[in-house]
Amino acid sequence: MRRALTAVAFFAAALVALGFLALPIVAIFAHASPARLASQLSSPVVTDALVVSVETSAVAQALVLALGTPTAYLLATRRFPGRSLFVTLVELPLVLPPAVAGLGLLAALGRNGLLGSSLDALGLSIPFTRTAVTLAVAFVASPLYVRQGIAAFEAVDPSMVAASRTLGAGSTRTFFRVVLPLARPGLAAGFALSLARGLGEFGATIMFAGSLQGVTQTLPLAIYSEFDRNFDAALAMGALLVLVSAAVLLTLKLSVQWTPSRQSSRSRFALSSWS
């Protein structure tokens, strides 16, 4: 009897949770017909925001990959004093309120910020530019990639690395031909999360980069500015972001599921894909 009650309680809780999480998503699509939403997607506000979002995300995520991969590798493979402090530092933006991130970026890179006068001397002014958007996105999104990357590199079997080295491959070659391919599913998962988080960035951007259509107004900022003017346009952009986020998650799940079957032919695959 008690067991049955517990089971019912669990199911009820799960049902409430699912309904709560699904309802807003459903509502975005139910509020207006797909045709009406689609017609909004061609309005200049939406297309401009799309361009800003895509461009800043592309640059920000390229930075995340280029700087985050070596960082994750070092943190995963080296043991040194203060390592956990470093890891915590890298993970901190993950739990930091975005408004605090924006405040920090302004205090660091704003005109009167820590590095403001040095940047000014170089003729650089970051706030209100697309660079500011890119930096805000990279700041809030990169921890997701680095965190996942550390785990991925830690999971690489050290004997594989040792084997590669004994067979005469240098450390660079070993990294690109053995370590990276083995860590790739984990890195891809981290990258997908970073991409999704970056596309949704709002708080740090509006504080550090402001909001100007066609320059710094990303999709989330455009949603906020259109919400009182043209609710349909805001909904259309919301629907677009839901679809993109769902696609990212789905790709992530598929890529992770797809990996185990590949394990048997790993070495061959790894060599062919990186040569």
Binding site: F128, A189, I206
Partner: protein, 257 residues
């Protein structure tokens, strides 16, 4: 790394995030035994003065347009105090609030950071290329007044120097006060709140738009009596004195209820 490991590493994080997200909601949902507390939606420029007139209500300050849209979406406001008359009139037409009453007026000014990095001495200096001008979004009342003033002065060209369109007047004030922007358009009363940080430059008299603030009681309010009492308090001699002390202009003649 396997999917399982990914999940194992992430779920404590997800749990913590959920708990964090739900905690404030739970706090808000808690029933209170206190007498009904009014919820007043008010223009950001009223942030400092309204609590001086009546500290009791729960205030939500923001761009008047955002607040009006929230009321249209069913937000539980008892009173709406807007930085213009158009938004409350729109709500009244939609049957969402009472007939609005003008309770104050305000002047638009140009502000520059105290250090004045772009050396702007008058509104005409905004034409200098590379000036970082911050304005409010045209949907926000102050943003509309800004466009109107620039049009009157035949200075619409300076809009090319706009680096950001902010969501309410206090955001404009903040960006200029921080020194990140060279200049911005705000109300005279906003400039007065940060005298050490910004310098206000008056606009030519003919270009000063008439910013009239109107207030109304939300039709959905379950505290109609208290809400009307709040409006009366704002319109009272004491309320008006507080507004004038904060730098607002007296509500025009002939607007008495």
């Amino acid at each position: 790394m396997s999917a399982h490991r990914v999940a194992r590493r992430l779920w404590p994080l997800a749990l913590a995030a959920t708990a964090l997200a739900l905690a404030p909601a739970a706090a808000l949902g808690a029933p209170s035994a206190a007498p009904p507390r009014l919820t007043v939606f008010a223009a950001a420029s009223l942030t400092d003065v309204l609590p001086q007139i009546d500290p009791r209500p729960r205030y939500s300050f923001g761009g008047s347009n955002t607040l009006a849209a929230q009321i249209e979406q069913g937000a539980p406001a008892d009173v709406f105090a807007s930085a213009d008359t158009a938004l409350p009139r729109r709500l009244a037409r939609e049957g969402l609030c009472s007939t609005p009453v003008v309770f104050a007026r305000n002047a638009l000014v140009l502000i520059v950071p105290r250090s004045n990095p772009a050396r702007i001495e008058s509104v005409y200096d905004l034409r200098k290329p590379g000036t970082k001008l911050v304005v409010a979004d045209p949907g926000v009342p102050v943003g509309a007044y800004t466009l109107q003033a620039l049009r009157t002065m035949k200075l619409s060209g300076v809009l090319a120097n706009v680096v950001s369109r902010e969501t309410d007047v206090r955001e404009v004030l903040a960006k200029v006060a921080l020194g990140e922007a060279d200049a911005g358009f705000v109300y005279a009363t906003d400039a007065k709140t940060l005298p050490g940080k910004v310098t206000a430059l008056k606009l030519p008299a003919r270009a000063r738009p008439e910013a009239r603030y109107a207030i109304c009681v939300a039709s959905s309010s379950r505290h109609q009596g208290d809400a009307r009492a709040f409006v009366a308090r704002v319109l009272s001699r004491a309320g008006q004195a507080k507004l004038i002390a904060a730098g607002f202009l007296p509500r025009a003649q002939g607007q008495r209820k």
